[in-house]
């Protein structure tokens, strides 16, 4: 005798499964985007903001700073510093100019490069600029390799 007490289960409309499936898709996508952005946002060698065409000028300025430090260490140059004694590069017939005893600058197009003698030593920077400025101007200064 078949049991007449049969429980009737309404067929699932699939909404729950669809919701779960979409949720899993969203989580997987979010994880993938997160991981990709991590890889993308931590490049080992970020490119300089300085336009490519100034890369060699910046390199030559950087080399000059090293050489000035070595010359100074060997006591071949001393304060007061004279522009003529320092091995600065020229660029398209433009030369560095001496703005005060410790500040030297080269203005080229829309960029200015400065080399300065601090108490601790020499350093060099570049910044976008519409005009020639001295080492203390309030500009967005960058290291030569940045």
């Amino acid at each position: 005798m078949p049991n007449s007490n049969i429980e009737i289960i309404a067929p699932a409309d699939g909404r729950g499964e669809t919701r779960n499936f979409l949720l899993v898709c969203v989580v997987v996508l979010a994880c993938a985007i997160g991981l990709l952005s991590l890889i993308h946002s931590s490049p080992q060698n970020a490119l300089s903001e300085l336009p490519n065409q100034f890369s060699n000028l910046a390199t030559q300025v950087s080399n000059a700073v090293e050489e000035i430090e070595l010359l100074e260490e060997a006591e071949l140059i001393n304060a007061p510093y004279q522009l003529a004694d320092l091995p600065f590069p020229t660029y398209q017939n433009q030369s560095f100019i001496q703005l005060d005893e410790h500040c030297f600058s080269l203005f080229q197009g829309q960029y200015v490069f400065v080399v300065e003698r601090h108490e601790e030593g020499w350093d060099a920077h570049w910044a976008p600029s519409e005009q020639a400025v001295d080492c203390h101007a309030s500009l967005d200064w960058h290291l030569l390799n940045q």
């Binding site: 060698n45 490519n52 065409q53 060699n56 080399n63 050489e67 398209q92 030569l144």
Partner: protein, 283 residues
Amino acid sequence: MRLLLLSLLVLLSSQASARLQVGITLHPYYSYVSNIVGDKADVLPLIDSGFNPHNYQLNPADIERLNNLDALVVNGIGHDMFATNTVDRLQPKNLTVIYANRDVPLIGHDEKVNPHTFVSIDAAIRQVYTIAKELGALDPDNKSYFLKNALQYAKTLRALKKPVQQALLNKDVSKLRIASTHGAYAYLLQEFGLTVSAVIEPAHGVAPTASQLEETIETIRQQNIDVLFTELNMENKYVDLIERETGIKIYYFSHMTHGAYSKDQVEQEMGHNLSKLAEALSS
């Protein structure tokens, strides 16, 4: 007497072990470091010559060598990832990794850095100074010696520019259109105010497909490219085809990552590159 000999041996062996053991990953760094350290340190290629840096994987013997080094000088911006990836993963104790390009203002396109700073004079000098300073920090007794050698080597490298500087005297190169088979020469050419108008290979050592080659030939014709710089020691059969089809003048540059490691490789091969460049500019 026996005691004296023994003491002498102990002294000699302790001096030998005190010498810096400096590893390098690519040929130019062998030349740089050898010129900096002179006879005060040992320069050891991480891997034997004849490898392709673009697809090399370190083997256990290389890793053993890595573990015995005091310092490893690396390009670090994409040309020796076979070494930098392993070093990052293993982080060998007592190893100082010297990133030669740390202070170099880099050239790049589309967020991708051009790693060929060693095919250059000024960027090479910048790297030599960085390496010399770092080695001086590891071996303070020889710091002045390293820096003095670095300065002397920079002078030697700079002197190599002379033939090109002479070829450029009173010459207007603003209209000279240059192509290269791959992007290795951007740093070198920029030193002389020259820029590359077209790069042919899709990647280093990868020959272009037939359609890419057709496009290249068309680009060379359209842009009136005057000279093509291509690489020595690479089989570039398609370059001959470009020469035939366009009549363009082709000059061969060394990429400086082939052959035996030697102290004067950079001087020799950059000398060759610069004499070829002078020839191209004079023609």
